[in-house]
């Protein structure tokens, strides 16, 4: 990888209660600068624990974390300056207004008061909270709180944005809004650490993912590589959509080198071939020459979900 990693997590361990329960066990991964990194795992796998440690809320039991080269243990303030956190639970002070929240949080980042006011106003406008900015938080809907969470997370222009289940509890429009926003942050060059259990969300946004299960990292790679790796050793499956498939044609398909099984389906046939075998052209030729009316041959794609289920032992997502 040519780009220097901006998040480096090395042999991270977090244990509770006399070190008997290991919430995180030897977690290691890196995130290159400017990447959108998907962090996947079943509930209770250690996603939020990892995020709380990354965002300096929780102290690790062992291991090192570097953000943009700054060691979290040695120089936590430098790390904190470079981080923006959007927590899973969007929780704020009920009696403060949206704007007061932003000013309060900005005050920790040494943003001058006038500049903080300007940024708060701008950021409230950007996230559609222009009018709500002067309202107390107890009047906010869940979606508004989510947007305020974003505003506070980006207010100090952090290099690394950590998001814990950002699409949680949002309606489809809200989820689309968030997707677009994450993409635009990506274009601004920010590194995004996106924890989610919504696989489709991660699939649409991230190139690389890390998968955690029971406190251990089970895979870190690009989605392509991971699915390819999954495909290795697995049979290739072709779904054939065709009419007038005679038994003779199916027999001929079954005789093609590499094909291990053929079965008739409602739309046509399902052809299973040995791993790595590229039987598509032969199958289409046999069907067409045999007089079948071929409409489509589709190679079955291994999805992130298959990958996820196979890596996490099919546990609940």
């Amino acid at each position: 990888m040519s780009v220097a990693p901006v998040i480096e997590v090395e042999r991270l361990v977090k244990s509770y209660g006399r070190h008997t329960v290991r919430a995180l066990d030897d977690v290691t991964f890196t995130v290159p600068k400017g990447d959108i990194f998907g962090f996947l795992g079943p509930n209770g796998a250690g996603k939020t624990t990892t995020i709380r440690i990354l965002s300096t809320v929780l102290d690790p039991t062992a291991g090192t974390i570097r953000i943009d080269g700054h060691d979290l243990g040695d120089d936590p303030l430098a790390v904190k300056e470079r981080l923006g956190l959007m927590p899973d639970e969007v929780a704020f002070y009920p009696t403060l207004t949206g704007e007061q929240h932003l000013l309060y949080y900005a005050s920790f980042h040494k943003v001058p008061r006038a500049e903080a006011r300007r940024r708060a106003k701008e950021s409230l406008e950007r996230f559609g909270l222009g009018e709500a900015g002067s309202k107390k938080l107890k009047a906010y809907s869940h979606g508004m709180k989510k947007r305020l969470a974003l505003a506070q997370c980006l207010l100090h222009d952090p290099e690394v944005v950590i998001m814990d289940e950002p699409a949680n509890g949002l309606d489809p429009q809200g989820m689309r809004y968030f997707r677009d926003l994450i993409r635009s942050l990506h274009h601004e060059g920010k590194t995004i650490f996106l924890s989610s259990h919504l696989l489709s969300e991660v699939e649409q946004l991230c190139k690389r993912v890390g998968i955690i299960d029971r406190g251990r990292i089970v895979a870190v790679d690009s989605i392509e590589n991971l699915t390819a790796r999954l495909a290795v050793g697995a049979p290739t499956i072709l779904h054939v959509t065709a009419a007038e498939l005679s038994d003779a044609i199916l027999e001929a398909v079954g005789a093609i080198s590499g094909v291990t099984a053929v079965e008739r389906t409602e739309a046509g046939a399902k052809v299973t071939a040995s791993p790595g075998a590229d039987v598509g052209p032969d199958v289409s030729k046999v069907i067409v020459l045999g007089g079948g009316k071929l409409r489509e041959i589709r190679t079955e794609q291994r999805s992130l979900e298959d990958l996820f289920l196979s890596l996490t032992g099919g546990g609940p997502v």
Binding site: L77, E81, Y104
Partner: protein
């Protein structure tokens, strides 16, 4: 970790904590409670009264004689203004225990009871209505004049000076006498048809003369400028009672009410993670929480205390001595610091809002009620009398409320501590104990927060 890092986040968190608390309803409620206690106490204790210091029932007992010469008690029962109290139970007894062994009677429409006592030379008489009971003694002895009188002094002005002399006069038969009343030889008025008369007297000595027909009796009466003052009056005494008996109970409640969920609330509502992820140090956040909450309590409490000092000065005409007033203001701040720190510690340990409330109640109970019981029990367990004595002397140092009380005692004028009981522990020991308490609580708070804040 350098010093700047150690305090990182302190001013922001302190400011936020201060402002949030200042605007909270619970603080307003506590200010109202405190103001009522301090301002009301200052006014009431320095002699201003709402006119409630007049007795509900006044009894005028007289020795009298039947026409055949046998002895008889004539008792008039009225209010302080001479209006008769009808149907009041009056009992007669042979001893001061007021068993009513001689019998009882009820006052008639004129407020009188006449009760034969035959040849007894003294009886004890009580009058009772509701739960108010007054008692007195009547003795029969040869008299130079053919009438008897009873007197009482009242404070009708509500200024603690009992400048009104009420007189009740009956003749030898126990019936209201037609008496003329004079002060220092000058005729003032006759008593009314029931024998009651009232004289306004100047402060100091006066000679009162009662004339019935041709007979006259003169006796001296003294109106004290401030009858309570001779015991424990004055602005210092008021301030002392206020701080040692009222504020030492209320100020901790104030501090606890404001601080009990300072940390737990952030955790429960989920704002703690976002706060800790900022460029702050744990120590900075904790100290900011402490200073903000402390200021939010100290500011209104000091304000109310200053108003209280003003009220004391206004009602008693002179201000409390400067050193004592300053000590009072300062030690109250110390008391606030103790309890705010205690609550911050427990608030960090509390996982839920309910636990935080419970901890608050327990802390108050511990240092205001349970501690005394505990030291009492421990004291009883110490067999050696000398050791027990030493323990009793210093046991209070384990209780921040007690340290406050003793410090206030230490700075109170000596004539007050003579009356209320002082402290046998020197200022150096008390000061050291206070400092140790502060440092230990502060270090403990930092340590607990470092470990438990985001656990």
């Amino acid at each position: 970790m350098n010093l700047l890092t150690f305090f990182r986040g302190l001013p922001q968190v302190a400011r936020q904590e201060f402002l949030a608390n200042l605007k909270s309803i619970r603080l307003l409620i506590m200010v109202a409670v405190l103001a009522l206690a301090v301002v009301g106490g200052s006014y009431g204790l320095s002699g201003g009264t709402g006119g409630t210091n007049l007795p509900a029932l006044v009894m005028w007992p007289h020795p009298a004689y039947e026409a055949n010469g046998s002895q008889m008690a004539s008792v008039f029962v009225s209010d302080p203004f001479g209006s008769p109290r009808v149907d009041v139970r009056v009992t007669f007894s042979t001893s001061f225990r007021a068993t009513g062994d001689l019998g009882e009677a009820r006052t008639n429409a004129s407020g009188f009871v006449r009760f034969p006592v035959w040849n007894r030379t003294e009886v004890f008489v009580t009058a009772q209505t509701g739960t108010v009971q007054v008692g007195s003694q009547i003795t029969w002895f040869p008299s130079l004049v053919n009438f008897t009188w009873a007197t009482d002094q009242f404070d009708f002005g509500g200024d603690s000076v009992r400048e009104t002399l009420a007189i009740h006069v009956v003749d030898r038969s126990g019936a209201p006498a037609e008496a003329r009343l004079s002060v220092n030889g000058t005729y003032v008025r006759d008593v009314d048809a029931l024998g009651y008369g009232r004289l306004g007297l100047p402060v100091g000595p006066s000679d009162i003369t009662i004339e019935v027909d041709t007979e006259a009796q003169t006796f001296p009466v003294f109106v004290f400028e401030d009858p309570v003052g001779s015991l424990f009056g004055g602005p210092d005494a008021t301030l002392f009672i206020l701080s040692a008996f009222f504020l030492y109970l209320i100020v901790p409640i104030f501090a606890i009410v404001v601080t009990f969920d300072a940390v737990s609330k952030e955790r429960v509502q989920g704002t703690l993670d976002l706060l800790l992820s900022r460029p702050v140090s744990r120590s900075g956040v904790l100290l900011g929480k402490f200073l903000g909450a402390f200021a939010a309590v100290a500011f209104p409490v000091t304000l109310v205390n200053l108003v209280g000092l003003g009220v004391i000065t206004a009602t008693s005409g002179e201000s409390p001595s400067g050193g004592f007033a300053t000590a009072f203001l300062g030690f109250t701040l110390l008391l606030i610091a103790f309890y705010v720190l205690l609550q911050i510690i427990f608030s960090t340990l509390a996982k839920t809002g309910g636990t935080a409330v419970l901890f608050g109640v327990l802390v108050w109970l511990l240092f205001n009620i349970l501690y005394n019981v505990l030291t009492l029990v421990v004291g009883l367990l110490i067999a050696d009398p000398a050791a027990r004595f030493q323990f009793g002397l210093y046991a209070g140092l384990g209780n921040p409320s007690s340290i406050y009380q003793q410090l206030v005692l230490l700075y109170a004028p000596l004539n007050l501590t003579g009356f209320f009981g002082g402290t046998a522990i020197g200022g150096d020991v008390l000061g050291a104990a206070a400092a140790v308490w502060l440092v230990v609580l502060l270090v403990l708070a930092l340590w607990v927060f470092e470990r438990k804040a985001a656990a």
